[in-house]
Subunit: 408 residues, 2 copies
């Protein structure tokens, strides 16, 4: 069977990437993993500010930056110099995609707004990621992941039922938005193969959050009330046993999630066998979801009596192996050290010229059995020569002059 | 400027959709919004079990189902009958994409495994969504959103620092995986325009979670320790003031998120002006992130003294308007009733033949200023005639016979 690991899907697609931090970079990284030539255009002084988020040393790129910029190239350009701006416009003529996530109004002030760029290259896909949508009362406001999560509903449905709202740990505001941007760009690129047409795509982080909280919106439409926080349960329905149960060890992540589906009564019966309570199979006090809800504390206590005698891995193995949905709560160290991810290519070990060896996830889909191969994030300006020569046919000397003159 | 709202991007792409619940349906819905002809193939008895999750009445599709199946078609096929199976194989010959998210091994037992389908149509993109990856010790296990979130790290980084792990409310395990699947399929479709080549894409919900928690993995790589829960702060760094502050009203979502960036010292100085403490601008006790961390309780108390006198909307308006990232915690009812979403087309009002009128979000990206237009999710088997006629050229009578014989 032919197999490419997916990293030739977007071969030939050239992306001018004026994004920073995470929402934009996560989008272009997905494209880079799938084969696009993504060129980060960065200021020559410090580059993407993501390079300096909690770095492991002085003048070293942060692991945060490495996570979101693998497989890309970096070109430095002083966008405030007329020659720098002209250089980017020359790159625009050769590009298929232009993307930015600066603060509202900034890219237009730089002279690279949608009207300018699309006039130079009408077939380009021009994409913008902002905190709030054009036309929103907050369109000029700054936003980061947590602001999007506050205003987009995700915090209101996370937390204990009687506690305050809480930020989900995953950066849905950033990467969650980045993934929707990638889908939108790829769809527009696909259309372009048919029609030749460019596009102006705009996405707001607040709006993007709605995409990830639609179960809660369904609940609101049905009930007419705001979705409430449900702890580790579901905003849609309570159906015990369903939730986190403590396991042996007592550590901060020594829990196993056990889920018995309302749609499949076998889950409960199988669980009774696992926890040694077969005598309760068919017992009317527990046999239906409604009955278990009435005896919720008892039901949870029976499950806990069993889980607290097993460690989380064993609990997952035994309960999951018996055909009941179950999952140990794994922390980031356990996941990084779990050999299964490396064996399957989901995590790969990368060799970075300055940082050295580290392990991270690649694009987590497998194409003919393998995810794309990781290459480390570029050093600042690492690909100046390569890109200016291959995109614009510039000579070594011309590039040298740009460097001497502080343009790149 | 030409503008299509994006809903012609995937015109001509035919998708055979054997998915249910959310992880698969969220993927194909994104494709349907962007113009693909997505045909849900459902069992004639009850269809996608998502139709019956908390429905508003008897024999009515759930709002949950409407959320994840807009703009699709539905064809009923009894896959366990030889004629039903042959019918799907006929559809396979005409399709560009085949996608399923059954329990492990089920699609192969039905006789529609990757080898079979790809032999019939070598150019097809065949995509599978499972809980755990092929080759994982848990590859045969069942999974739902919460199991993926337990095993994929998202629960371990959500919650209060001294509390138990917690499930994020957004369904990242489901929709989060669906979005990565959509990107993978679109990339393979794009390649196919160049090479004609089909593909076998596999994605596991556990693996997909890693994509949304990479800031935490960066922290672990830097520190060598598991990322800890950070309440509503960040796993990457503590930088007060940063978090949820209570506002006037005292309701369960009366909070505003305030974020002062380490990278931009102006945020703190602007905030001092907003809260009427200009006398502290430049005060060494508070002027640097390190100093504020040392006086964290005092800093938070000053901000709270101001926020508790304003309601959350006013607090967001004033703080955000002064150039400091700020966001009110909005609940699902507030968001559904916020006129900005409808004005911008992000939410649209849909007319469903049975449910009547309801409002939901469309694809939250705008193409030339508008998101795609919503069409309601199909009734079970609503498009039998249309699809069998237009894809396979079947006559009204032939379709009638299939129906009489219980094949569709």
């Amino acid at each position: 069977m032919q197999g490419s690991a997916g990293d030739d899907c977007l071969t030939g697609v050239r992306v001018i990437d004026l994004t920073q931090f995470e929402a934009g970079p996560s989008c272009t990284e997905a494209m880079a993993w799938l084969g696009a030539e993504v060129v980060k255009v960065e200021n020559p002084t410090a580059g993407d500010p993501g390079r300096s988020i909690n770095p492991p040393g002085k003048d070293v790129d942060a692991h945060y930056f490495l996570q979101y910029n693998a497989n890309k190239k970096s070109v430095t350009v002083n966008l405030k110099s007329p020659r720098g701006l002209a250089l980017v416009k020359d790159l625009v003529r050769k590009a298929d995609v232009f993307i930015e996530n600066f603060a509202p109004g900034a890219v237009e002030r730089l002279g690279l707004g949608a009207d300018v760029v699309r006039a130079i290259n009408p077939a380009i896909i021009y994409a913008q990621v902002k905190g709030f949508g054009t036309g929103s009362p907050f369109e000029k406001n700054l936003a980061f992941d947590m602001i999007a999560q506050a205003c987009g509903g995700t915090m209101s449905i996370t937390g204990e039922p009687d506690g305050p709202p809480l930020k989900p740990g995953p950066t849905i505001g950033d990467t969650g938005t980045g993934m929707l941007t990638a889908i939108s760009i790829l769809a527009a690129l696909y259309r372009r193969t048919r029609t030749g047409q460019g596009e102006h795509i705009q996405i707001a982080m607040q709006d993007a959050m709605l995409q990830y909280t639609r179960g809660a919106f369904a609940a609101t439409t049905t009930s007419g009330k705001p979705a409430r926080r449900a702890g580790s349960g579901s905003v849609l329905s309570r159906n015990p046993p369903m939730g986190l149960f403590p396991t042996k060890g007592g550590g901060s992540n020594d829990y196993v999630y056990v889920y018995t589906s309302r749609a499949n009564p076998e889950h409960w019966r199988r669980l009774l066998a696992v926890i040694g309570r077969e005598e309760l199979v068919g017992d009317a006090r527990y046999d239906s979801p409604a009955a278990r809800l009435e005896h919720e504390d008892e039901v949870n206590a029976m499950v806990t009596a069993w889980t607290s005698k097993h460690d989380k891995h064993e609990a997952m193995r035994i309960i999951g192996g018996a055909g009941i949905p179950a999952g140990a709560v794994l922390d980031t160290s356990e996941l990084l050290n779990d050999p299964s991810f490396e064996q399957r290519g989901i995590m790969q070990t990368v060799q970075h010229p300055v940082i050295g060896t580290y392990k991270m996830t690649s694009w987590p889909a497998r194409f003919s059995g393998r995810p794309p191969t990781l290459r480390p994030a570029p050093l600042l300006g690492q690909n100046n020569e390569d890109v200016l020569e291959s995109w614009l046919g510039m000579s070594h000397d011309e590039i040298g002059t740009l460097k001497t003159d502080g343009v790149i």
